[in-house]
Symmetry: D4
Subunit: 252 residues, 8 copies
C-alpha cells in the first residue's frame, strides 16, 4: 500500500491519525532509498558517474554492465579496460556513442540525450615518469568526462627538477584550479609541487618501483608524510583522483 | 654585485652582453628563492600560514619560534600545544594577540596589522566518536584561522547511524562546501558520508583503536579503499585536512 | 591386546589389578581417539561436515577425496571447486547425488541415506559489492548445506547506503537469526549493519581492492576495529562464516 | 512544524496532498534517528548496553559519563577502569548501585529500576595462561552483566594439554552453549578447543608475547588461520567477545 | 710459492726467519680456506651434504651442478626438483646411482664409493594436514639421506586432536630422539606436541593458508611464540629442519 | 567413584563388563591429565623445569609463585627478574637455597632434596656485542640450571671477525656439543658460525638496533634466511634457546 | 621573446630597467632547466648516463627509447633487457655500436663519437651465491660502462667463509677503491666484508630467499642494521650500486 | 709455544717439516686476529674510529668504556650522549682532551699524542627540517672527527624548494666532494638533491613524522626508491652516514 492511498484513506476518515503515523514510519525505512541523497538540486544534475572497473571481469560481463549503465544513466564509464573487453563492447554496442581513451584504458558509452556537462573549470595533471602516465591519464580522462578542461605535463620528475619549473609555470599561467600529481617510486614530486603552487594538489601514488617501498608504497608513504599541503588517494587510484578533482570544481 | 649594478654597467658599456648574460645565469640559481613561488597575486595575499608543531619542542623553543613567526609573517599558528608551552608563550608574548583553542590544542599569535582573512566559504567537520574530537577540532580551527566559516557535527559514528542523517542534513542545509570527516578504529564514517553527500569529502583517520589495525591504521586503510569518493590525509593530520579544505575554497 | 581380553583375564585372575590398571593407562592414550569428541548426543547427530578445499588439488585428487568422504561420512562438501574438478568428479561419481552451486563454487556429494538436516533456523547473507558475491555465496550455500534456511541481499554497500535500509528491513522482517555480512575494500558495511540490527553479525572480509589495504586487509582491519558488535573470520573465509553461523543455530 | 500539525492541516484541507507528501519526505531524513533501529520488540528490551572505555579518560570525565549513562539508560558499564577512576566514581556516585569486578577491571552502575536481565543461557570462558585472565574476565563479566550465566576454566593452555580435557568436559557437562577462549602468544588453544567441542567457539587473542608475532599478533593470526571452526574478535577485545556471546544467546 | 719451498729455503738459510714469518702471514689469509673448517675428525667424516635448490634453475643448469657435486663430493642432493629437471638429470647421468623421492621432490645422486652413513639415530616427522606433507617429506628424506632412520605420522592436526595421541605414542614407543613437526595455517600442532613429549621438537611452518597470516606467517608466528619448548626454521624450510635434526643426532 | 572400586565391583560381579567399559571411557577423559605426559622414565626424571617470567608481575606475585614452584617441584627458576622482585623473594624465602645470576637476571630457588642434575654435556654460548650479553647469559644460565656445562665467548661479532676464530676454536677444542649464538642488529654471526662448525647451532636474535629491521627483526629475518644450517628461537628468547639446547643433550 | 632581444631593447632604451628586471624574473623560472645542473665543468663531462629499464616495456617501445637516447646523448644503457627486446633492438639499430652483456642483462648502444670515458679507478664486485650473480653483474657492467675498471669475486658467501678471505685479499691487492657486495637471504656478507676491508662498501640486497624475510627483505634489513660501516641501495638495485660506486670515483 | 720457537726448533732439526707445518696450521686459526685486517698501510693509519653508543648505557658504564677506548686507541667517540653521561665522563676523565658537540650529542675524548687526522677533503651536510638537525649534526661531527672539513645547510626542505637552490650552489661552489642529506617525513630532499648535483649523495632518513610511514619509514622507503642516484643508511644513522662519507674521501 502506498502513501497516496494512505493519505486518501486518512482524509476520508478510514484510518486514524495514529494509524497513518505508524504507517508513515514504516514507509520511511523501506523508502529511504528515494530520498537519502542529500544535496541541492544543482549538484544532483552534475552528479558523479559511477565507474565500471574492467579488471577482473569477463568481456561479456563487462559489456553487459556498460550497456546497462548507459541505458539507465545515460552514460557508462569503464576503467582499466582490456583490448578484449573493448572489442566485445564494440560488437555488442548498437545504441550509444563509444569513446575510447587508449592511454587511460578508459571507455565511455554515452547516449545522445546525455548532455555534455557544462565546463566546470580546469584541472592540471602532472606525472613524474613514463611509468606513471597510465594512472595520470586515468585521472585526466575521468576529470574530462566529468566536465573539466584538463592540461597535462608528463615526465617531469624530481630526478631532473629543471624540467619541472617551466611546466608548472605553464599550468599556473593556464589557469588550472586543481592539480593532480601522479608519481611512483620515491613519490617526491607531489610534495615538491605542493610546496610551490597555491592551488590544491592531490597526490596519486603509482604502483611502480621494486624492492622495499615498491609497488607504490614508498610513494604513498611519502605523500602521506608530505611537509607541504597534500591530500592523497590510494595507489593507482587515478579514477578517484580525477573524480575528486572534478568534484572540487563542481562544489564551488 | 647585484642585478641593478650589472644592468647599469651593461647599459653604459662597461660589460658586454655576453658577460651580462653569464652573470644573470649565475644570479638565477642563487636568487631563485625570491621568485619561485608560482601563483597569481590574488592567491599570494591569502597564502597558507605555516604551522608550528608543538610536539617535541621545549616550551622555550616553541615560544621563540612562535613569536618569530608572528613578527615576520604577521601570524603564527601552533598545533599540538601543551599546557607548558602555552604558559611560556603567554609569559613571553608582549606584542601580539594570543588566541587559544583548547580542544584543538591550537594557539594563534597575530599582529594587529594582520588583516583577518576575508570569509572564503563554509567547511563542515564531522567526527565519529568522542576520541576523534581533538583531531576534528584541529582541522576545524585550522580552517577557521585560514578564513573559513566552520560547522561541527561530533559523535555521529556509524555504530548509531540514525544520529548521522539529521546532522548531515543540517550541514548541507547550512551550505557547507567541503566536508572533513574524522574517524578512528573502523573508519567507516567517511565512506558512508561520501556516499551520501555531493560536496568533496576529506577523510582524516585518527589514532584510536588497539590491536590489529589500531592506532588509526584500520581507519586509514578503510578510507584509502573507500568505494565512495574520498581524498585522505595521514593519521591524526587534522591541520593538513583543515588547511587543505581551506585551500580548496580559496582556489576557487 | 584389547580391553575386552584384559578384563576377562582380570576377572579370571590371570592378571592382577595393578597390572590391569597399568594396561588401562596405556590404552587410554592410544584409544583416546574414540572418545575425545566432547559433546552431547544431540549435537553429534547434527555435526559440522568437513569441507574439501578444491584450490591447489588436481582434479583426480579432489574427486577421490570427495567420493571417499561421501562414502565414509554420507556427505562430502567441496569448496573453491574449478570447472575441471567438477567435470572429473561428475565422471567418477556413480553412487551419490551431486549438487553443484555455481556462484559459490561449491559441490556437494551426498548419499541417499544421508538424512537432510532438520531445519535449524534462518541466516541472512548480505554483500557490499558484486565482487563480494562469490564469498557471500560460499557462506550462504555452506549454511544451507548444514541445514539453515538462507536469505540473501547482495550489492548493498555503503557507497549507496539508501539501498541498504529496505534490504535490512526485509531480512529482519523475514526472521533471520544471524547475519553474515561480506565486504571488501573499505569493509564499512558490517560495522554499519551491526550498528542497526540486534541479531549477531559475522563479518567476512573479501580480497578485493588494490593498493594499500588491498586484498581484504583494509576490510579485515576495519571489522576488527568495529565500534559496533562484530565477530570476524579471515579474508575470503566464506565457508567458515557459513558454518559458524549454522553452528550458532544448532547449539541453541 | 511537526507531523501532527501537518496531518491536521491536510485533513482540514489547508494543504494539498502534494504539499503534505513533500513535507513528509523532508521529515523523513531529519527524523530517521527515531525509527532506524531495526529489530523486533523482544530484542529491544534485552538490548546490548554500551561500554565506556576507561582507558585514556580522566577520572572526572569517566565518572561523569558513567553517571550520565546510568541516569539515561538505567545502567552504565565501564571497562579497563583504573583505580583512580573507580575512586572518583565512588565519590561522585550517589544514586546508583555500584558493582566492581576487579580482575576484569569492569565497573557497573545500575539504577534500582533496571530490571536484572532474565537468564539468557550459559557461556563458558577458557584462558590459556595467567596473563590472559584479565581479558578473559573482561569477557566473562561482560556476558554476565548482559544476563548470561558464566563458567570459567583458566590456565589450561596447550603447553600442558592434559589439564585441558577435564576442564572442557566440565564445561560441556555444565551445559555451556557458547565458549569464549582467550589466548596470547601462540594462540593455539582456541583451534584446539574448537576441534573438540560442538558449541560455537569465539577466539580472543591477548596482547601477550614479545618478539615477532608478539603483542597478540601471533595469536590473532593463528586464530584467523584456524583449521577448526572459529570466529574471532580483535586483540584484547574481551568486551566484544563477551557481548557477542551474549548476543548469540539472546537472538535465539 | 708454497709453504714447502719456503721452509726448505729457510732451513737452507736462503731466507731469514723474518722473511719466512712475513710470508707465512701472507699465506695464512689466502690459504685459510683449507683449514677453517673447525671440527674434530669424527664429525667431518659425517659432514652435512649441501643441497642444490632446484627451484629457479633450468633443467640443464640443475643437472650439471648435480653431476658436478656427485663427482666432487661423492653425493649430490637436489631439493624442490621439477619433473623436467629430473628427466634431464636422468638423461645426463651415466655414472651415479639416482634415487628419486617423489613426495619430497628430492633427488639423490650418489657414487658407488660413497659409503652409506652409519645409522645415526631415529627422527620422527609429524605433519598437520595433507597440504603440509610435501614439506614434511622434504624434511624426512633429508634426514634419511644424512643417515637417520625416520618415522612418519601425517595428517594429525589439532582440528581432530584425538588422532594425534596414538600417533605420538607410537613415535615415542618407537624411540625417536628428535621430532620434526610441520604445520601451516594456525601452526598449533608443534606447540601442542612440544607440550607433550620430552624429545626436542623442531617446528616447520608451511606456506598454507590464505588471508591474514596466510602463506605460513600465522604458523611461523605461532611457533616463535610457543609456550612450550620449540626451535623453529623458516617457512617451507623442510631441508633445513631435516638436516638440523640429523646434525643433532650426529653431534651427540 | 574411582577405578579401584570399579574393578573390585567388576571382579565381584556387581557390574557387567559393558558397564565397566563405559565407566572406563568416562574416566579416561577426566583423568587424562595424569597420564598424558608421553615419555620414558629416564626423561621424566630429567624433565625441563618451567620458568617464571618476572616481567609484568608484582614482587609479591612473583615471590609467591616462585616459592610455590620450589615447594611443589623442588626447584623454581625466575627469568627477567627485577631488583625489587629479587629483594622481595629474599625476604619471603625461608626454606630454599637461592641462587642469583645477575647478568642473566635469573634467580633459582631450590630445595635441599632437589638432586643436582647429572652433567648432561657441554653447551657453548657466543654473543656478538655487549648489548647481546643479557640474552646470551639468560640462555647460558638456563642451560646450566638444567644440568649442562657451559662455555661463553662474548663480544665477538662479525664487525671484527678476526676476534671470532680463536674463540670458536676454543669452544670446539673444549668439546661443546651444541652452540647457542646470540646476535642483534644485522644478525650475521649465527650464519657465519654455522658455516664453520659442525655442531648444531641455535640462533637467538636480540632486540637491539633501531630504524628499519630494528628491535631484532633484522637479526631474526637474517637467521631464518641463513644459508648455513640454523634453527632459531624468537627475539630475546634466551630461556628457550638454553632449555632447547639442554633438551638436545638430554634426549641423546 | 628571448634574453638577447630584451637586452638589446634595454640598451637601446626601448624598455626600462624595471621592465627588463621583471622580464628576467619571468624568464628565470621557465628557463631554469638550462642552468639548474649544479656542478663544475669537469664533472659534467663525465656525467652519469641514464638507464632505460627494460622490464615492463614492449620490445618496440624499448628499442625506440634506446635509439633515441643514443642519438641525443651519444650513449644509451638498457637494464633488465629481455631476449625479445634485444632482438628488436638489433633489428632496428643501424647507426650505433651495440654491446650486449648477457649475465647482467644490460645492453649498451653507443655512437662512434662517444668517447670512451677515461679510466676513473677500480671497483670490486663480490657476490654471496650463484643466485646473486645477475644483480652483481648489473652493478659491475654499469660501473664499467661509466668508466671504471672492475674485478669480480663471485660465490663467496659466509656459509663457507674460508672461500671469502683469499678473494678479499686479491681484491685489495688489486687496488680496488670501492667494493660492491651483493647478497640475498641472510645478507651477512656485506657486514662481514665491511668489517674486514678499509675501502667503502656498498651493500646490494638481492631478492632471493623464501618465507619470512624472503625476497631480499632479510638481506636489506641486515645491511641497514650492519654493525660495520655500510651504505645500502634497494633490493636488486644493481644499476644504482654500480653507478653510485662510479660516482664516488669520479667525484674524487 | 710461538712461531719463533717453532722455527728455531725446525732449523735446528728438532722438529720435522711435517710437524712444523701442522703447527703452523693450528697457529693460523688462533692467530688470525692479528692479520685479518686487509688493507694497505696507508689506510690503516687513518682507520675509522669505533663509536660508543651512549643510548642504553649507564653513565658509569659509558664513561668507563670511553676512557678505556681513549687509553687504548688514542681516541674515543661517544654518540647519543645524555647530559648525565657527559657529566659523569667529565668527572671521571683526567687524562684526555674532552670535546663536546651539543647539537650532535657527540663527545670526543682524545689523547695528546693522537695526531689530528690530515685534512681528507670536504663534506656537505644538508637537512630538510629543524627536526632533522640532530641527526645531521651527528653525521657532520662524525665526519669532522674523522678528518673532513664540513659545511652545513640546514632547514632547506622541499616544502620551500626556493630556499634549497642557493644553498646547494654554495655547497658546490665551496668544493664539497660528498653530500649527506638528512630528511624525515616524506624524505623528498635527497632524491631532489641527487637529481641536481654530480657529487655522490648519501641519504639519511630521520625518525620524524607520525601516522603511516612515520618514524622515518616513509623517508627511508622514498630514498630506497629514489629515481636519482642515492645510497642510503638506516633511519637516524647519522654516525654511519658521516663515517661512510669520510671513508669515501679517505679511500681515494
Amino acid at each position: 500500500m502506498d502513501l497516496d492511498d494512505l493519505l486518501d484513506d486518512f482524509r476520508e476518515g478510514e484510518i486514524t491519525k495514529e494509524e497513518l503515523k505508524r504507517e508513515i514510519n514504516l514507509l520511511e525505512i523501506s523508502e529511504l532509498g528515494d530520498y537519502a541523497k542529500l544535496d541541492t538540486g544543482r549538484k544532483r544534475r552534475a552528479g558523479t558517474p559511477e565507474a565500471i572497473l574492467g579488471e577482473g571481469k569477463s568481456p561479456e560481463e563487462f559489456s553487459d554492465i556498460m550497456i546497462d549503465m548507459a541505458s539507465n544513466k545515460g552514460v557508462g564509464i569503464g576503467t582499466r579496460v582490456s583490448k578484449d573487453q573493448l572489442l566485445e563492447l564494440k560488437n555488442k554496442n548498437e545504441d550509444f556513442e563509444l569513446n575510447w581513451y587508449e592511454k587511460a584504458s578508459i571507455v565511455e558509452l554515452r547516449s545522445e540525450e546525455y548532455r555534455s556537462n557544462r565546463r566546470i573549470g580546469k584541472i592540471g595533471v602532472i606525472s613524474a615518469g613514463t611509468a606513471d602516465i597510465e594512472v595520470a591519464e586515468e585521472a585526466r580522462v575521468t576529470a574530462k568526462l566529468m566536465g573539466a578542461e584538463t592540461k597535462r605535463s608528463y615526465d617531469v620528475g624530481v630526478a631532473g627538477i629543471h624540467r619541472l619549473f617551466p611546466e608548472l609555470k605553464k599550468q599556473i599561467d593556464d589557469g588550472v584550479e586543481v592539480l593532480i600529481v601522479a608519481a611512483g617510486r620515491d613519490g617526491s614530486l607531489p610534495p615538491v609541487v605542493a610546496g610551490i603552487v597555491e592551488v590544491p594538489v592531490i597526490g596519486v601514488p603509482t604502483s611502480t618501483g621494486y624492492g622495499l617501498g615498491g609497488n607504490g608504497r614508498g610513494a604513498l608513504f611519502s605523500m602521506l608524510q608530505s611537509c607541504s599541503l597534500l591530500s592523497v588517494v590510494n595507489i593507482d587510484a587515478g579514477f578517484t583522483a580525477g573524480a575528486f578533482a572534478a568534484k572540487i570544481l563542481k562544489s564551488m
